[in-house]
Symmetry: C2
Subunit: 231 residues, 2 copies
């Protein structure tokens, strides 16, 4: 059984989200900790996919997970139980997003200055709240944004939630094992994403069959390396 | 081809959402127009399901649809094309919800006082933005809230987005044709919903196979009747 702690972080009193986010990013870079902000719709399979990813990478990278939810501790517990890594459940007081100041306050409890926690963490994964609108508006201080679009949601989502796709460095098209079951045009989805965000990396993946997981691991390794891994 | 108009409605300047919502509801009741507020995650199949429902009911009820989106007109156009009813696309300026004042402003353009539009509308369907958090916080002035939980999203959603399930009069469990494909426990989902909201009506449905659509039509007919149909 992995360890889960829960903290409650409510809305930020600071308006200047961008400078708070920059401060987090600088601080994490100094400590050689890479942070990924993972966003998606509710029910896209974020937790399942993250679990598969953490299990593949945990022997080579020291990983911690921060899970944002309105009130349950389901996701943090699932990740912790299935991977053995330490997970923090952040309760955000019913909000639709997490901002940089909320991340700062979460980190001050999860990894207080002087505790050495961040110094021994290579990869910090922030599992944002399930929502394609609000989380896209707030820089969390992560080094990269990752978003998951699951096949059952449909290939038109980039047209409907353009900001989310514009701010994401990596788009995972997940549940590709259900492609035959849903009317999802992979090329159309890719073209719509690339029109919004020509630099986006797009990787099809299935946590169920394991297809594509290795490519995601390679992407994560590259980002950690660019950020100056301590490995 | 059905008719679609698009208007842009940005955030409300009025804080008192509840009294605005009550005013809308009274006004609609006076005109014997029943309004349903339909909410769900992105990609739950709201538009497909609404299209199936409108096609079943349009010969006995005069129906109009208002579709809220960040910027595309995809949904309104799909409903209008597939059903022939008049649809209004509301662009909400990137917000994560629609509130009562935004509905008031949309109605003032879609159905201005004196135009007779509401007087000849039995059923007004508001397709809210795809989001399980924010829309639940705003009374839109609708007579009933309907939410759609699709099978691929998982049976744990009531635990994670409790307010949405608490404020919904009808919960449609959709895409039940995919039950064999996903690990979805129908009884667990129902129990979780009823624990939050003992009065919720729960109907399993598939727009693809048509299963359950008749029961949803009956529920709609009942609500319209209670509200004093002009039929």
């Amino acid at each position: 059984m992995g360890t889960v702690r829960t903290i409650k972080i409510e809305e930020s009193v600071f308006a200047d989200n961008t400078s708070s986010a920059e401060a987090i990013r600088r601080m994490l870079t100094d400590k050689k900790t890479t942070m990924l902000n993972v966003m998606s719709s509710p029910g896209s399979g974020k937790t399942t996919l993250l679990t598969a990813l953490v299990n593949k990478l945990k022997d080579e990278l020291a990983i911690r997970v921060m899970d944002v939810d309105i009130e349950s501790t389901l996701d943090a517990q699932r990740v912790a139980d299935a991977t053995g890594v330490e997970a923090l459940q952040i309760h955000n007081g019913g909000l639709c997003h997490i901002d940089a100041d909320m991340v700062t306050r979460a980190l001050s409890q999860f990894a207080p200055e002087g505790s050495g926690v961040l110094e021994e963490t290579d990869l910090l994964i922030l599992e944002n709240i399930g929502n394609l609108v609000c989380p896209a508006e707030f820089d969390t201080g992560a080094h990269r944004n990752v978003m998951i679009l699951s096949v059952p949601e449909g290939d038109d989502k980039p047209l409907k939630y353009p900001l989310m796709f514009s701010v994401s460095d990596l788009v995972l098209i997940s549940k590709i094992d259900t492609m035959d079951f849903f009317d999802f045009d992979m090329d159309a989805a890719k073209n719509r994403i690339l029109r919004l965000n020509p630099k986006a990396e797009i990787l099809p993946v299935s946590a169920k069959t394991g297809e594509g997981i290795d490519a995601v691991c390679d992407w994560v390794r590259d980002v950690v390396k660019q950020n100056g891994s301590r490995q």
